[in-house]
Symmetry: none
Subunit: 208 residues, 4 copies
DNA sequence: TATGAATGAGAATTCATTCAT
DNA sequence: GATGAATGAATTCTCATTCAT
């Protein structure tokens, strides 16, 4: 009896997060009432607060969960032989996620909320740091293997890959003609040219 | 004497937009009360509605104004000799705007709102279409002059430049370590490699 | 120059009253904003207050005007030979007015407002007293001429004729099937039986 | 124990309706704020909206309730032997209700609101149709029993009885001297003469 | 007179959260 | 844990009225 409870609790908690994700994506965080989430889960309006102390914590938990998912995914990438290819495959996945309007909206929503609530900013920042650090590690190792341009500053390169990921999610919201499915090739050209070892390394020094 | 009235009206309207911009950037659109905006302008709480029929129209007007500013700026770019350089200069400007936290937050906020309110989405979409079309025109002309890789699909290329711009604004919100000022060089490397005429054109077909 | 002003003023005042009548009939007194009335007259929102000190006075003036119109009309009735017929003709007119939805709505609106605002109640009460007094006079004279049942209490009889008039206006609002045009005959039966000299006077004492 | 909840809910709902009735009668529907009603019930300002989705629904519910009460009362009338007397007794009741200033005001208020809000008009219209249909049924049966004038169009007759009822409530608002208690006798004369089987049927054809 | 900007007190909801059951 | 009634502050928007021009 006592053993089932924690499982049930976790399942219920997850159900809340899933419902909230959908609601937040559709209407935005502050446009969604806790009552709406409760209705979506099939829960009484007060009961939600047995699982989360307040609304902000729901977003916080969603952010944390996304961070965990990304990290888990990245762990599978390191084992690959061609890390450049691994990165491009990861970006393919991003494009696939972006094709899910809910996911894109949510990503934007979270970024926007990070701009306001410092507590969320901290959690989002942690995820982002981990993502960039993973990207940087991947790129550094790729460079070591001759699969990436070793002359790049890998922290900066990772930052711009991350910017590109953010940009993809923005596109979905902002550009009705943007179909992630059709953009895999151009994405590969863009990142390929940016990251591959350069025949003429002089271009690297073109900056400023 | 009679001429002053419309001017006053326009000035007051603009003051509202400016105050709203700041408020929205700081707290988000739906977190900002119309009363706060009024207080920021130094206006009684009801008076704002002599200038805008409702809150959504304030955001709408801000969006429209940003669109006009961008368009105006782009008109100056076409006259340049080196269009590739012109584009990079434009991106420098974007990085400078992004360094203004208010501007970045607002950009994100608008994108997020576009994901919810179709009326805003339409106005944002129009701006975005114009930006991409201007970018595409610039790139096409650059290619014709041998300043850009003519093998690229220019619509797609413009789309990814736009994604990068969006991404830059997201970075500011999401990545505390991101300092736009320090990223001009890497941005130039990234875009340079993507857009320049390629020595080895075969890389273009690397897709899928 | 100075002579034209009072005429213009009166015309403008009347225009306001006419517009207000329409607005009040359509949306109700408290649902109509002064701005709406101004728009209907083609007048700036502040200007109305040069003609009426406040909104209540507009209703008050409408009430007074209706009273004057009724009184004027009644003066023409007294000259008739058959006063019973004169009364029925008056009721025909009431039915015709009731066919005008605006007039009916307004009548109801005024009655309702009298139930709330004592100042309006006083003005409405004065009109009503005059109407009942005119009716009573008419009935008394009719009785004297053998055209009405002399055994009736003419004050009470007048009161019930007035109630019937009120009731007609209510019908229009409340009963979608009520078409005043079709009710002239039944009205005449009803009032005829009530007011005519009775063959069998014993029925009069049937009460209580 | 579980059964108490719905009862409590219904009781609270009824308390709101009762308070609202009083407030609406005193100040009019649109002059009464929801906060006032809440205060009258002893309820926090937001709590009312757990019981009614909006203010209009409160009026709607009051209208429906009045309809039910009238219908319930009418069911008791049909069993009577003398239906003419039954009708007059019903009218006595109307006069007694009219003596309650709150009831009269409310009746007027509802009629006025029906002139504006179609949703209310529909509900009021339904009640009115039922009342007239009940009256018509009563009159038809009375005629069949020789207790009413069979030559009357019973639908029209019912309509005019209804008009008289409306008129009574208007009187209270409009005529300060009108005391329903003193008008039972005259009402009985009026309706008696209108509805009773006529000695001289020729009067019926007096119309137009 | 006429204009329309300005005021500021409300209005009806809404909503996160609490709490008795 | 679960329910849903209750709270009360906050929100957007309205409106009669004033007043400088």
């Amino acid at each position: 009896m006592r053993k089932v409870d924690p499982e049930k609790h976790a399942a219920r908690r997850q159900a809340i997060l899933d419902a909230a994700r959908t609601c937040f994506a559709r209407k935005g965080f502050h446009q969604t009432s806790t009552a709406e989430i409760c209705a979506a889960v099939g829960m009484s309006p007060g009961n939600l607060f047995h699982y989360f102390p307040n609304k902000q914590e729901i977003i916080g938990a969603i952010v944390d969960q996304e961070g965990e998912e990304t990290a888990a995914f990245f762990q599978t990438l390191g084992a690959r032989d061609d890390l450049h290819a691994a990165l491009l495959d990861f970006m393919d996945l991003v494009l696939e996620l972006a094709a899910d309007a809910e996911f894109s909206s949510l990503a934007l929503e979270i970024a926007a909320e990070a701009g306001r609530d410092p507590a969320i900013a901290m959690r989002v920042g942690r995820n982002d740091r981990e993502l960039r650090s993973a990207l940087q590690g991947l790129l550094a190792e790729a460079a070591a293997r001759g699969q990436a341009d070793a002359t790049l500053d890998m922290a900066d390169a990772a930052t711009w890959v991350a910017a590109l990921i953010d940009g993809i999610f923005s596109r979905v919201a902002v550009d009705g003609e943007f179909k992630p499915k059709n953009q895999h090739a151009t994405m590969r050209v863009l990142l390929g040219r940016f990251l591959r070892p350069q025949a003429d390394a002089s271009t690297v020094t073109a900056g400023a």
